[in-house]
Amino acid sequence: MSAAQGPPLSSGMSGGQGLRLTLRGIGHAYRGLQVLQDIDLTVAPGEVLALVGPSGCGKSTLLGIMGGLIAPAAGVVEAHGAVADDCLNPITYVFQDFALLPWRSVRDNVALPLEPHLPRAARRARVDEVLALTGLDAFAEAWPRELSGGMRQRVGIARALAVRPACLLMDEPLSALDAQTRTLLLEEFAGLIARAGTTTVYVTHTLSEAVRIGHEVAVMSRRPGRVRALLRIDRPIEGRRATDPDLLAMEARIWAMIRDDAATAERERVDAAD
C-alpha cells in the first residue's frame, strides 16, 4: 500500500496555490565563522527542494532560518501564498532526532501541537487520522522508547502532518536510521508529502535521497555555504526508481561537484576538533 493513495490532505494546495518560499541574500555567522553567504533561493508552491552539501556547509542552519528558529545575520525569508483555515502551523519542522517527548505516548506526542488550538474531540479525530495515515494506529498508546527509530520518525511526520502544514522543513529526517529503514521510509514520506501537497525543503547528505525526492536539488558549497548549483529533475516523483540510470547519472554529477569540498570539509572538521 502506498501512502500516496487516497484523498489529498486538506491544506496542501496543489496547482501552485500553496506557499512560495523566497530566500534573499541570506548570510549567517556563528562564533566569528561565516557559515552562510549570499543565499538566494525560491521554492515553488507544492514543490520539494532537496538541499545537499558537504558536512558543515550550513544546510541545517539554513533550514533553521527558514523555520524562524535561527535569526539570520543578513537577508530575509519570505513566504507568500494562501493557507487553508484548518492549518494550525503553516511552516512545520520534521527533526533529525525526532524530538519526541519521552513522557508522552505516541498519541499524546502527535496531539501536542494541536492542544492550544483544538478541543479534545477534534484533536482526537485528527490524531487518529494521521496515525492511520502513517501506519501507527496499533502503536498509539506506546511510549517512544518502545519504538524503533523508523517508527519514531513516523511519529515525527505524523505530528507534523497533524497541524496540516503548508510547508514542511525536513532536517535529515532519515539520517538516524539504518539503510534499509531509510529506503522504506523515503518511499513512504515521498508519498505523504505528495498527498499533503506541501511546499517542502528536504535537507539530506545522502545524494540518492535527494534525487529520489526532490523536484529540484540545491547543491551547496563548503563553508561559507553558498548555493553552487540548482538542478531540476524533470521526472514525476511518483514512480522514480533507485535504479533509474538518469537519476544515477544526476547523483554522480552532484558528487563530482561536492567531492573536493566534502574532503576539505572533513579535514577542516578534524582541524577544528584539535
Binding site: 502551523n89 519542522y93 527533526f95 519521552p102 501536542l112 501541537p113 492550544p116 505530528r159
Partner: protein, 263 residues
Amino acid sequence: MRRIDGAIAFRGGGFAPRARAWAAAGTLIGLVALWQALEMAQLVPTLFLPAPLAIGRTLWALTVSGELWKHLSASLLRLAVGWTVGTVFGIAVGLAVGLWSALRSPVMAVVAALFPIPKIALVPLFIIWFGIGEGSKIATIGFGVFFPTVIATAGGVDGVPRGLIRMGQGFGLPTWKIVRSIVLPGALPAILTGFRVTSSIAIVLLVAAEMIGAERGIGAFILAAGNLYDMDALLAGIVVLSVLGLAVAWAIGVAERVLLRWR
C-alpha cells in the same frame, strides 16, 4: 608456540550488583536482635543504650496513651505545610532561574550564598520575623526545603534537551505551553530526585523547628526526652523519625514509578 584445545571459559559477568529487599530487611532485623542480645547478656549498660524491647515498650505505651499521635500529628502538619511552601516557591524560582537570563545569575548568587547556612542558626531570626508559634517552625522547614528545590529544579530545567524546546517553538506553541508541557515534565525527574533530598532535610529540620516554643511535636518530644536523660523515650522518638523518613522515601519511590513510568 602453544596449542589451545577445549571449550572457551566464560569470563564476563559481575559488576552488576542487584538490590535484594530481603537482605536489607534481614540486616536491620539482625542488628536489632544482636543489640537486644547484647543488652540481655548485660554487655552494654542500659544507662548508655536502652534495649530495643524497652524502646518498643515505650513506643507502645506512647501509642496506646495517644501521646504519640498528639506529637506526630503536630509534626506531620508542620512538615506538610513547611515542605509544600518550600517546594512550591522552590520550583517556581527554579523554573524562573532555568528560563530567564535576567534572573539566573542574581538568584543563583543569592541561593549559593544562603544555601549553606545552617537553618538552625536562623531559628532566632525566624522567631523575630514569624513569631514563636507555627510561623517560625514552618519557615524553618520551608527555608531548608526551598534552596535545594531551586537548585534541583534549575538543574532539571537545564537538563531538558534544547531540541525539545525548539520543537515546541517550531510548532508555534505559546511560552506557557512549552513550560507546562515540555520544560516541567522534562525537569520532573530531577525535581523528584530533589524531593528525596528535601524530604530528609525537612525531617532533620523538624527537631530544630520544634526547639522553640513547641508544646507538642516529635522534635519537641525528642528534645524534652534528651533533656530529661530519658533514653527510652529519646530513642523511641528517634525510631518514629526514622520510620517517618522511610515512609516518605517509600512514598516518593511510588510517585517516581507512577510519574516516570515512561522511562
